[in-house]
């Protein structure tokens, strides 16, 4: 890897780049799934390539290749410089980066059991046992289960002298029970929807999750949803389960704090942000019990946003985002930090693969825990709805107006979970919602969720992000609006 990267770096500088960095990535993935008692997808893939990013004549250029011959690496580096010079035809000012110390480092995420060493037959056996537990329940029309393993080995070299090797192992696992009857389709997922749980771990995550042990319960709930009442419409107290709150954080805090959105870089696609620059350290984003960090450091846990260095060679940091309700920090890059007069990047630049440039991505954007257990919070609630496991999510392109649906809900009456509710939904305006937060459960209920499918950028890049959350209560929330 080092030779390939050095060749490309040398050529870029020789061709006139004033700054260059090179990433070589070797990505291996295994995806295994089952459906209604049969194997679904059984596939392995490997993708290896190199991307070179340069500044020349004050403009940006990037080119990538999967051909690691000397000629191809030279050609990619030369192409990046040519592209940068074309960018300069439309520049207003030269690209400028805040300084960063050079780093020479080697880091590996913790992986107790390499998932690629676990026999495929054992993985499929686990999935089929999960599938079987789901299909034991009357009324289930579709059982699905999947495991997703990824190993990413990457080297970063920059013209400033950095040389950073990082390897990560990521594991995802989950199952879904679907029930069709009459004119309704209901789904229940474990441990989360849209793929389950994802973390920077090995096969030990699969063992921790125990899919077969939880499959029966979600199947029972999926079938039961046909027989329960519709979520009412109105204004209620809402308690959100941990995984749903993780996605709420992702959409209504994580994206708005991306400084590239704020500055307009994403205006044509992902959108902009209501968090304009004058709101920093001025906006009461949330109630005073709300504290949020963007923490990429290992000490935060094995989230999909955990690393040692970002893809600009900036060391992982814990960036305060909301302190006691006050908005205090953005996710930044070396260029966007320079644009707003900050002295250092917060280290949030990541690229999906070798053929994509790094852009600002969420690290682990997490709500810090409060106090107590979920049972205590329910006991403290007189009239509300508890909602669990995301089913739909949508938010406007500046991140004000959101609406979420969940797979299941329960009415809370006089401090107790009462009847089950189908089709729960809630919506609101971001800052009004977060200012209505009046209770957050404690560390025992806190889970660091992985969102493996966050899309942003053109060409589109999919990135994994982390979101720690424990269940929390929000007052006077509009519920049931999706079915009004």
């Amino acid at each position: 890897m080092k030779d390939w990267a050095q060749n490309a770096l040398d050529t870029a500088l020789a061709r006139g780049a004033t700054y260059a960095d090179v990433r070589v990535m070797d990505i291996r993935q295994r995806y295994l799934s089952t459906k209604n008692g049969h194997p679904g997808q059984v596939r392995d893939s490997r993708s290896l390539g190199l991307g070179v990013r340069v500044i020349a004549d004050g403009g940006w250029g990037f080119a990538s290749t999967q051909d690691m011959s000397r000629a191809s690496l030279d050609s990619a580096a030369a192409q990046a410089v040519e592209i940068a010079r074309a960018s300069a035809l439309c520049k207003i000012r030269d690209a400028r980066l805040v300084p960063e110390n050079k780093a020479v480092a080697h880091w590996e995420s913790v992986c107790r059991i390499d998932p690629f060493t676990v026999p495929v037959s054992a993985c499929l056996d686990l999935l089929l046992r999960t599938d079987s537990e789901i299909r034991k329940v009357e009324g289930i029309t579709l059982a699905e289960a999947a495991l997703d393993f990824r190993h990413i080995d990457q080297l970063f070299l920059s013209s400033e002298g950095s040389e950073i090797r990082q390897t990560k192992t990521q594991t995802g696992a989950g199952c879904v029970a679907t029930s069709f009857a009459g004119s309704e389709i209901h789904r229940r997922s474990y441990p989360n929807s849209f793929g389950g749980q994802y973390q920077n771990k090995g096969y030990e995550l699969v063992e921790e999750l125990d899919l077969p042990g939880h499959a029966g319960q979600i199947a029972e709930e999926a079938a039961m949803l046909h027989r329960c009442d519709q979520c009412p419409t109105g204004v209620k107290e809402v308690i959100l389960g941990s995984s749903q709150l993780g996605l709420q954080i992702h959409e209504s805090i994580g994206h708005p704090i991306e400084l590239d959105r704020v500055l307009g870089d994403e205006a044509n696609f992902a959108g902009m942000s209501f968090l304009t620059l004058e709101k920093l350290r001025a906006l009461r984003y949330a109630s005073s019990i709300v504290n949020v960090v963007a923490d990429a450091t290992v000490s935060h846990g094995p989230g999909l946003g955990t690393f040692a260095y970002d893809d600009e060679g900036v060391e992982a940091q814990c960036v305060p985002v909301i302190q006691q309700g006050l908005f205090v920090g953005y996710l930044t890059s070396r260029e966007s930090a320079a644009a707003v007069g900050q002295v250092r990047s917060g280290g949030a630049m990541r690229a999906e693969a070798w053929n994509r440039i790094p852009i600002i991505r969420m690290t682990n954007v997490s709500l810090l825990p409060g106090k107590g257990r979920l049972d205590d919070l329910i006991a403290d609630t007189d009239d509300g709805i508890y909602m669990e496991t995301n089913r739909s999510w949508s938010i406007d392109d500046r991140r004000y107006n959101f609406q979420f649906g969940t797979e299941i809900g329960w009415e809370i009456k006089h401090g107790r979970k009462a009847r089950m509710l189908k089709n729960p939904s809630y919506g609101g305006i971001t800052t009004e919602f977060w200012n209505s937060c009046d209770a957050i459960c404690g560390p025992d209920e806190w889970v660091l969720w992985g969102t493996p499918n966050c899309g942003k950028g053109q060409p589109m890049q999919t990135m994994g992000t982390g979101h720690g959350a424990s269940p929390a209560r929000f007052r006077k929330i509009q519920v049931g609006i999706a079915y009004q």
Partner: protein, 453 residues
């Protein structure tokens, strides 16, 4: 369209043939399939009236599927040396060997015949970063003329895909690609326009920039209109992004497994009399290869005829399960989803967009929708936002811009509430794949809340 010299492509037919010959040499499975794809692609991105990202990539990928003793698995690699190809063949074989047998697995398809499609423009493939930058420069100039700020992309390149199997099937397709989209931003408003296609000259970039700029100017100082049910004119991009949520529902497997909103509704009248939808890869405004993930030729399929769900699409395996004929819409095997129509055409009427507006006493004009998600899978309620150009219509005229809405609307109900259909065109959005669809005038479209801009 100009033809490829082929040798200039990152994946020529000759290279694809050579790679498959190696796969056949290294595979020890009963049956072997190779799907080979190549792309050479560049994208110039601009925002705040400057180019801020500018990228290029080349990639070649080989995906080997084996079938051995009623078991199948896939292994892919972008390393194309002999050792890596051999390793991919072995990995697929190992993965297949370690799983339970699947009695429903069919033998691979035999040789097929394909209708020709011409989707290659050599000028688009060879477009330089300088030309892209010069065109972006013109767009920025247009934005400055009205004190607007431009953001968008201009991309160009080529893709090629080939599929072969050990039963003698062989198919190859190459296509040039280009895309331009632009958002023009004013102090209080924005406008958007987008086109895609195999020929960059046909994008009419300056006209798109002008359209987006006019939308931004005409929606300045947007007013608040209360949420509720309104007659709405959806421009083709908005129509396309909504219809995209029905694609998987038209798959036979989706109905067989009761996860489709069309479960129990096939051959029934589900939509309005004026709804006619078909899938046709050979439509002149469509794109993509004329074969599916198993190399089966894509057929023209009527999906909705006068509001009746006329047909579904079927992969070979689903067709066997459901006693139907394969239509050439299967995804690469193995997969969980079966199949889907990917070249949708919705028939329209003789009316122009302006006719739709002129005939509307009161209503809303929607340029584009955003962040659409499924709320209810069987009623097919979708939620999402309007974006970049939403207008109030009164007495047949566009009067002023309005603040953006959230909608919660069943698309099944919506397709029963079409008052007028315009002329179909190739549409591009951000939530689905390109389609040929008309602008639609819909009554009682349900807007449930407002946002702040």
């Amino acid at each position: 369209m100009t033809q490829s010299t082929n040798d200039s492509m990152i994946l020529s037919r000759k290279l694809a043939d050579e790679l498959f010959a190696k796969v056949l040499r290294y595979s020890r499975a009963d049956e072997t399939e190779a799907a080979i794809s190549g792309s050479s692609y560049a994208l110039t991105r601009f925002a705040n009236n400057t180019i801020h990202q500018n990228v290029a990539e080349e990639d070649l990928n080989l995906s080997v599927r084996v079938a051995h003793g009623q078991r199948t698995a896939r292994a892919s690699t972008n390393r194309l040396d002999d050792d890596s190809i051999r390793a991919a063949c072995e990995a697929a074989f190992e993965l297949a060997s370690l799983q339970p047998s699947d009695p429903e697995l069919l033998p691979m398809a035999g040789p097929q015949t394909y209708g020709a499609v011409s989707r290659y423009d050599s000028e688009t493939v060879a477009l330089s970063p300088k030309t892209r930058a010069e065109m972006v420069g013109k767009v920025i100039e247009r934005s400055r003329k009205d004190h607007l700020t431009a953001a968008g992309i201009f991309s160009s390149g080529a893709t090629a895909s080939a599929i072969y199997n050990s039963r003698g099937l062989g198919a190859y397709h190459e296509e040039s690609v280009s895309e331009f989209s632009v958002t023009m931003l004013g102090e209080s408003s924005s406008g958007w326009a987008k086109k895609t296609g195999p020929c960059w000259q046909a994008l009419e970039i300056e006209a798109l920039a002008d359209r987006a700029a006019r939308k931004a100017l005409e929606s300045r100082e947007p007013r608040e209109v209360p949420p509720g049910k309104y007659t709405v004119i959806l421009e083709p991009s908005a129509v396309m992004d909504l219809l995209g949520f029905l694609l998987l529902d038209f798959g036979g497997l989706s109905v067989h497994e009761k996860r489709s909103c069309l479960t129990g509704r096939v051959k029934q009248k589900v939509f309005g009399d004026n709804v006619r939808i078909y899938d046709d890869v050979h439509h002149p405004s469509q794109s993509g290869p004329p074969f599916d993930g198993e190399g089966v030729p894509r057929q023209r399929v009527t999906l909705v005829e006068n509001g009746v769900v006329a047909n579904l699409v079927y992969s070979r395996q689903t067709a066997r399960k459901m006693d139907a004929s394969p239509t050439g819409h299967g995804f690469p095997l193995p997969n969980e989803y079966g199949e889907a129509p990917l070249n949708l055409v919705m028939e329209g009427g003789p009316h122009s967009r302006e006719d739709l507006i002129r005939s509307t006493p009161q209503g809303l004009l929607v340029t584009r929708l955003w962040y659409i998600r499924e709320v209810d899978p069987y009623r097919k309620i979708l939620t999402g936002m309007t974006r970049d150009g939403t207008f109030w219509i009164e007495n047949g005229e566009v009067k002023y811009g309005v603040k953006n809405f959230r909608f919660n609307q069943s698309i099944i109900d919506m397709l029963g509430q079409l008052d007028m259909l315009g002329q179909p065109e190739r549409a591009a959005g951000e939530e689905s794949i390109e389609m040929v669809v008309p602008p639609l005038k819909v009554r009682d479209f349900n807007f449930s809340s407002l946002t702040k801009f």
